[in-house]
Amino acid sequence: MTENTKIIENATCTFCGCVCDDMILTVDLDEKKIIKSKNACVLGRAWFAEHTIEEDAPAAMIDGKEVSIEEAIEEAAQTLTKAKFPITYGLSDTTCEAQRQAVAITDRIKGNIDTTTSVCHGPSGLAFQGVGESTSTLGEVKNRADLVIYWGGNPAESHPRHFGRYAVTPKGMFTPRGKKDRTVVLVDVRKTKSSPVADILIRPKPGKDFEVLWALRALVKGKKLSDDIEERTGVPLAVLQDLSDRMKNCRFGVLFFGMGLTMTRGRHFNSGALLALATDLNEFTHFVAKPVRGHGNVTGADNVVSWQTGYPFGVNFSRGYPRFNPGEFTTVDTLANAHADAAMIIASDPASNFPKKAIQHLKSIPIVVLDTKCTETSKDAHVAFRTSTYGINTTGTVYRMDDVPITLRPAFESPFPDDETILKGINKRVNELMLAKHYASGASGEVKVAAPV
């Protein structure tokens, strides 16, 4: 360790959707490394500690050969404007500023834009469109919640500070004794590292979440359940009745839910049933629900794509305006159905985690990749940009899982440009190319780039 260190206070960890903004980072400026991250959880510590910069890596490559950033921007713009069905995907691990540019590019080239939401809480987004949602910021949970229910998730391992910072142990305005003022319920098909935190542990049969939620809705409304409910769901009637009573009689209840609910049999029906249950409970008391989101800025991606297009993900511009159709315009589908003929992948690695058929097609089309590191996807990229890491090297805005926006405080500089800078360059060039096409067709008008700076 050298003497040349600096401390960054109130930095933000973008590893997961908790987006904790109380990090105290000690940075070794010579080594360009974060050597200490006070307040971070085990995941956050690894996120900061393992962040190293491969100074020698090329900032831009075309077909594996190093080129200047300008050449790569030109090639990316050419590739995207020539394509008939270009797709943009990823976006959940970059800033809102970069996301805004990505939507702008996709709009201009009449492409298709989708985020990792389509493979995580997409069903919750659809359920939201169906039934709405009673929800709150995490500070309200800290201040008020006396009944906290986790459903289909294992925050102890996926979001380690969710318990301590927001929902279980913190002392709030009307919960001065912290955990003593709360009842914690965990509903999950298996025992996990999260189980010990629960006062009540409920283990339904796998794939029976919908049935349990529907049964609870019935009980809350005072309806009788059939006697075979335990046989069907694995949960005894008395346990369901007890939970229903607790939910109706608490002062402020919250239902957090994870991918154990959204990505198992039933999907958006499961999310919808849970959101409807929380809504129903407002007849008796104050009750909210909240998906526990994964990626650092997946909530920002939902927000940016929504405010620019009206829809949260799975959006297609091929007709010159946004259309929404999950199952058609979601990325797994545009690839597996072999619709896409070029792809821009930003801060995501679909080549390592998509279904085989989708990966096969992805590998057959030209790809433009922006990533902070070499990935399975970038290995096959036609144009690859290496960019700096948000929250560590780059400022910008991220949205916490409860839609609270936070400005990042970078720790040290990267030799690589950030996503926004590259995307701005591509956006500018794409605009020029599209306007040239417009004028070539004999049209007129003043040349003025619309994209705001």
């Binding site: 903004d21 500070g139 008020r144 709030g172 839609d403």
Partner: protein, 548 residues
């Protein structure tokens, strides 16, 4: 494009400068209106056209967390109303809650060049500013929700009024807001903390030891003392409830002779018994407003058809959910606000909806001083801002109004005096309620008029008998001296600027605020205030006590 422009031969309506339909030359240079321009300036021939300042919307909901939730909630609202891009403009979707780009362009296509978002939580200010950055053409600002702020209420209860004033100013600066917004004062804590209950009377003492009236009075005094260009923007208690006009009158009386703005006053002008169908009390409300020059209001006209309810008045949204039975969003913001959202539909055959429609029109038509009774639909609560041209026709064209009255619930018309009102607004009066009036109420000295030094935000309409058609399609829209729409087509893009205020405060107040934050907020104090990188183009409007 030359920065200089001359508009000739047009009929000018500029009520702030007492110009009522006179043929007059308008000269523009460097984004401002000037006395004269060089010979070689671009000329627009406005023969047969009407020239007005760009429209100013004093109360709408167009950006920020609740608006975006409403967008996400309603794919069905967007699908039937797409907004294609052009080579110069971005695409988007419409409906009652359009995407940001569509919002800006559509305001422009009505000749509006300024719009104020009427309710933003402090913690959502950053989000709102990001959306503003993607809302083209128009200048915009927002009112920040401080009435239900627990920290401020604590100071108020402890009668620490100096610190209260300092903290209000700090919050305005921390969020880049334009003024203070109060919504259903005192109603947040019963909703969130007491099993979805509410306050029902302006003098009801809440468990927190405050009455709505005390909250209202404190903010009116604070803003008056600090000289904000626009007074507290107040959404009174009991919105929508029969008999609520008493609360509205009491709220206005609380202001004494200090300034106050009553938002969407139509929704607060109902007589009758609670729980029963209301009757109109438009006459009583208009009478008070007319006789108290310290009061301004916007009407919040209801227009039949699809709307979206979005409000910080969460208990109200829950009541409406009981009627609509459809999807509903509730969103609580820690220490700051509640929020409710739901799709809604105003229908001619329903007594309540017709009465609301009629009361709004009555308020417009009865008001003796149009300068302080401003056109709004509380977009998208009473209906989309895209209804403004139709609303203008209802006000200007008595025959059309009477035709429309045949299609609505007749019983409701019996409980108001709309049938007896023969007034027809003139173009000059329309220019007052859509331009000059709101600009004056907002304290925007460079908006809403065409005098030398004003911002060159100008709309040129073809003069037509059908006023709906006329106000739906300006031939030219000029924003900050740039021609955005020429011959009905977008010819360039423009981003507009943020309008905000920076009242002076003593930095020491941060030491008082910070401990509260550390205990009760879930983000760090130093990450809360919005920094200048979120401003894009902006203009600081002077306060009585402007800070540097």
């Amino acid at each position: 494009m030359s920065a200089a422009m001359r508009i000739v031969n047009g009929k000018v309506y500029d009520p702030a400068n007492n110009i009522d339909g006179k043929i007059k030359e308008i000269c523009i240079q460097d984004g401002k209106i000037v006395d004269s321009v060089p010979e070689d300036a671009t000329v627009i021939d406005a023969q047969g056209m009407v020239i007005m300042p760009g429209g100013v919307d004093i109360h709408c909901h167009i950006a920020g967390p609740k608006v975006n939730a409403a967008r996400k909630l309603q794919p069905e609202d967007h699908r039937h109303d797409v907004h294609p891009g052009t080579p110069f403009t971005r695409s988007g979707t419409g409906g009652t809650v359009p995407s940001t780009f569509a919002t800006g362009y559509r305001y422009a296509t009505l000749g509006y060049t300024t719009a104020m978002e009427a309710a933003v939580t402090p913690i959502g200010a950053r989000h709102t500013l990001e959306e503003f950055h993607d809302t083209p053409v128009i200048d915009k600002g927002f009112y920040v929700l401080l009435g239900e702020n627990i920290f401020l209420q604590n100071l108020l209860r402890e009668k620490r009024m100096e610190e209260f004033n300092e903290a209000v100013a700090w919050w305005i600066n921390a969020t880049k807001a334009y003024t203070v917004k109060l919504v259903n004062p005192g109603g947040d804590e019963p909703w969130k903390g007491k099993k979805n209950s509410n306050v029902s009377d302006i003098d009801e003492q809440t468990d927190e030891g405050l009455t709505p009236r005390q909250i209202i009075e404190a903010f009116i005094k604070s803003v008056d003392k600090q000289g904000f260009p626009h007074p507290p923007h107040i959404h009174c208690n009991n919105l929508g409830h029969s008999g609520n006009y008493i609360t509205t009158l009491e709220t206005m009386k609380t202001a004494g002779d200090m300034r106050a703005h009553i938002a969407h006053i139509q929704f607060h002008s109902y007589g009758g018994e609670l729980g029963k169908n209301p009757v109109s009390k438009a006459a009583e409300i208009v009478d008070y407003v007319d006789n108290h020059p310290n009061i301004t209001c916007d009407v919040g006209q209801v227009m039949f058809g699809k709307s979206t309810i979005m409000t910080a008045d969460a208990p109200l949204a829950y009541v409406l959910k009981g009627h609509s039975k459809g999807k509903w969003v509730n969103a609580d913001t820690e220490c700051e606000s509640g929020c409710g959202i739901l799709p809604f539909n105003y229908q001619e055959h329903i007594y309540m909806h017709t009465l609301q429609w009629a009361i709004g029109l009555e308020i417009f038509l009865m008001a003796k001083d149009p300068w302080r009774v401003i056109l709004s639909t509380d977009h998208p609560n009473g209906g989309s801002f895209m209804n403004y041209p139709k609303l203008i026709k209802l006000l200007m064209d008595k025959a059309f109004r009477h035709e429309e009255m045949k299609r609505v619930n007749q019983k409701a018309l019996e409980n108001c005096s709309l049938r007896d009102l023969d007034r027809e607004f003139t173009l000059n009066e329309i220019a007052i309620i859509t331009r000059a009036g709101p600009a004056r109420a907002l304290g925007l000295k460079n908006k809403g008029h065409l005098g030398v030094g004003a911002d060159a935000d100008i709309t040129i309409y073809d003069e037509m008998d059908d006023k709906e058609m006329m106000f739906n399609a300006p031939r030219y829209v000029i924003k900050s001296g740039k021609t955005i729409i020429g011959n009905h087509e977008f010819i360039t893009d423009f981003i507009g600027k943020l309008l905000h205020i920076t009242p002076e405060y003593d930095k020491k107040i941060e030491e008082v605020v910070q401990p509260f934050f550390e205990s009760y907020y879930s983000i760090e104090f130093s990450n809360y205030a919005v920094d200048d990188s979120y401003l894009h183009d902006h203009e600081i409007i002077a306060t009585g006590k402007a800070s540097s």
